[in-house]
């Protein structure tokens, strides 16, 4: 082949490759550490004069369209996968952008995706439309509309974030969710603890108990209406149920001793927990409908921290039957108990991913604490983060993010103690502090509120 022809062929192939790339719709890979977040422009949602003034009267918010776009922007940024661009650089106004974006304007500021929308107030209901555009391909990717009561406007922002996330990553999102946790205050020797709940982005924080008795380890039911937790009400540590809507609390069962470490079964029908008697802790379930109690483990060791697989067929739990804390898996009837942790150190707090593929855990080795994951047969152990003290991971509903808590050392005067919630992606990247009014521990992630 002549040199000239070779060159032409080469450039032609190169040209073909680039052509294909420019026609493919944008995709975000969340299975590997993403050091190159996708630049996205979140335009403030448009609303006309009338809607503006009506909403200001109703909600005392100046520009709801702008506020909703901020919710979306914040969610996308926190995920570590997207880079929302500065609004000051936007060239097109929200109303026009939503109807017919001039893609060159948006490409100019290096944005690859564009989110636009419109807010309408009709018959006292809020109607929000939004569109997701592929800037480089010049196409609309997604167009949806939602109607709700005006005070739910933050949830619209979260739902839009979930839809955008799902469209671009192929995975379900985790933004329209809540976190329940224990709020902590006071000296270490006399901590005041209260149950607290907040939106996943830290807003709408609410306390569910008063702090008069010690409360620990709250967990959501899959239906998100109920929470199970441990309370020392009347100095009797027992597992309780709390209805988030009504505030009604109820003790689970009638056990003649301490019950603790509660979780719900995936169908929400049972509570699984530990029951301690005469120095031995075993795992039991109670059916919330017929109140039938079933004993699942029967061993003189400590058996605790049970967690169901998402299909309800297996349970992973923590036991020291081999001498030290290790992780085990058994069938949900208690048969076929198998140890799965074999690394160096102590293992605790096993929790099954909602995707069914992994079990997250806390590990203690040579005085350091680790949050890690392993496959359900114990292989592929991966440690995500190390610290002086941290424990109790909980999965986001899409099984991609873990929330946990950390405590600091105290100085020689016994001061300087703090406990905070942190999150980290499954890839080990995007480790983040989650801001809470008070100190916090024992976080648990709800499933998606929209189902």
């Amino acid at each position: 082949m002549e040199v000239n022809e070779k060159n032409t062929l080469f450039y032609f192939c190169l040209f073909l490759i680039f052509q294909t790339k420019s026609f493919s719709l944008i995709e975000v890979d969340i299975t590997r550490g993403n050091l190159d977040p996708l630049p996205v422009a979140v335009s403030p949602l448009f609303s006309d004069e009338q809607t503006h003034s009506d909403l200001k009267k109703k909600l005392n918010i100046n520009d709801l369209g702008l506020e909703i776009s901020k919710v979306v922007e914040n969610n996308l940024r926190q995920s570590g996968l997207f880079n929302p661009l500065n609004k000051d650089a936007f060239l097109q106004k929200p109303d026009i952008a939503h109807l017919k974006p001039r893609f060159e304007d948006w490409a100019l500021i290096k944005s690859q995706a564009l989110i636009t929308g419109k807010v309408i107030l009709k018959d006292d209901k809020l109607r929000v439309e939004f569109r997701l555009w592929d800037v480089l391909a010049g196409k609309e990717m997604l167009a949806l509309a939602f109607t709700t009561v005006p005070k739910n406007w933050r949830r619209i922002g979260h739902i839009i974030s979930d839809k955008v996330y799902e469209r671009l990553t192929g995975e379900k999102g985790y933004f329209d969710t809540r976190i329940i946790y224990v709020s902590e205050e006071g000296p270490k020797t006399q901590r005041i603890k209260k149950l607290a709940i907040m939106d996943q982005d830290g807003f709408n924080n609410k306390y569910l108990t008063l702090g008069n008795e010690l409360v620990l380890t709250p967990r959501f039911s899959p239906t998100n209406q109920m929470v199970t937790y441990l309370s020392y009400f009347r100095n009797l540590p027992r597992v309780y149920l709390l209805d988030i809507e009504t505030g009604i609390q109820e003790v689970v069962g009638d056990f003649p001793g301490m019950t603790f470490a509660p979780r719900f079964s995936p169908d929400g029908n049972k509570v699984i927990m530990s029951f301690a008697k005469d120095g031995n802790s075993d795992i039991y379930t109670m059916d919330l409908e017929n109140r039938i109690v079933e004993r699942i483990t029967n061993h003189p060791s400590i058996d605790t921290s049970p967690s169901y697989s998402p299909d309800g067929k297996y349970i992973t739990f923590n036991s020291d039957r081999s001498g030290y804390q290790q992780i085990y898996v058994m069938k949900s009837d208690g048969s076929k108990v198998k140890r799965i942790s074999f690394g160096n150190g102590l293992y605790g707090t096993p929790v099954w991913s909602p995707r069914g593929d992994l079990i997250a855990f806390t590990k203690l080795h040579k005085g350091r604490f680790y949050i890690g994951v392993m496959r359900t047969d114990g292989k592929g152990e991966r440690l995500l983060t190390e610290n002086y003290y941290q424990e109790a991971p909980s999965w986001s509903p899409n099984g991609r993010v873990l929330i946990f808590y950390r405590e600091t050392k105290t100085d020689s005067d016994g001061k300087g103690f703090s406990a905070k919630l942190w999150s980290i992606d499954l890839t080990g990247y995007n480790e983040r502090l989650i801001d809470t009014e008070t100190d916090a521990s024992d976080p648990s992630w709800s499933s998606l509120l929209t189902n």
Binding site: P237, M258, A261, A276, N280, G348, T410, G414
Partner: protein
């Protein structure tokens, strides 16, 4: 002449060496002694925070990391408690079990319960009826020492006998 000088110098160097190691060892012994008076075999042996149910009857026993085994000293304390309980037959007690903070929360709740039960079982062998005793675990929730040192942690690994009436 040369040889004796060599021997003399070698002797002096070796002597110096011994002196140095002697100093070092002495220092080590002092520190160990200080620690020894507070922790032995990972179990707290001091009196910080210890209260008394009656004259000469300490209210608590201590444990090694991850253990619920009673030491000789613990058994002696519990025998004193049993004697006092036999002499005051109307007293009922709550035995509170605790763990240090260097472990996961739920396992520590179970460990506290196991420790409190170890104390209860021992009291029963000395004639105290189980109807007079309740067990309560606080896991790592109620440390007596908020420090982040092995000494502080050892004070928190305890089972405390509390008068209930």
């Amino acid at each position: 002449m040369e040889l004796s000088k060599i021997y003399k110098n070698t002797f002096l160097i070796v002597l110096l060496g011994f002196l140095l190691t002697a100093c070092a060892t002495q220092k080590k012994v002092t520190t160990d002694q200080k620690m020894d008076s507070q922790i032995q075999g990972d179990v707290y042996t001091g009196t910080d925070g210890v209260k008394y149910l009656a004259d000469g009857v300490p209210d608590r026993v201590f444990f090694a990391t991850n253990e619920s085994v009673l030491t000789t000293a613990s058994r002696e304390t519990l025998r004193k408690q049993a004697k006092w309980l036999r002499q005051n037959s109307e007293v009922t007690i709550v035995i509170e079990g605790h763990a240090d903070e260097r472990g996961t929360r739920e396992y520590n709740l179970a460990l506290g319960e196991r420790r409190a039960n170890a104390a209860k079982d021992y009291l029963m062998t000395y004639g105290i009826s189980s109807s007079r005793m309740t067990v309560l675990s606080y896991g790592k929730e109620r440390p007596v020492d908020s420090g982040s040192t092995p000494l502080a942690w050892s004070k928190n690994r305890r089972s405390v006998t509390v008068k209930a009436n």
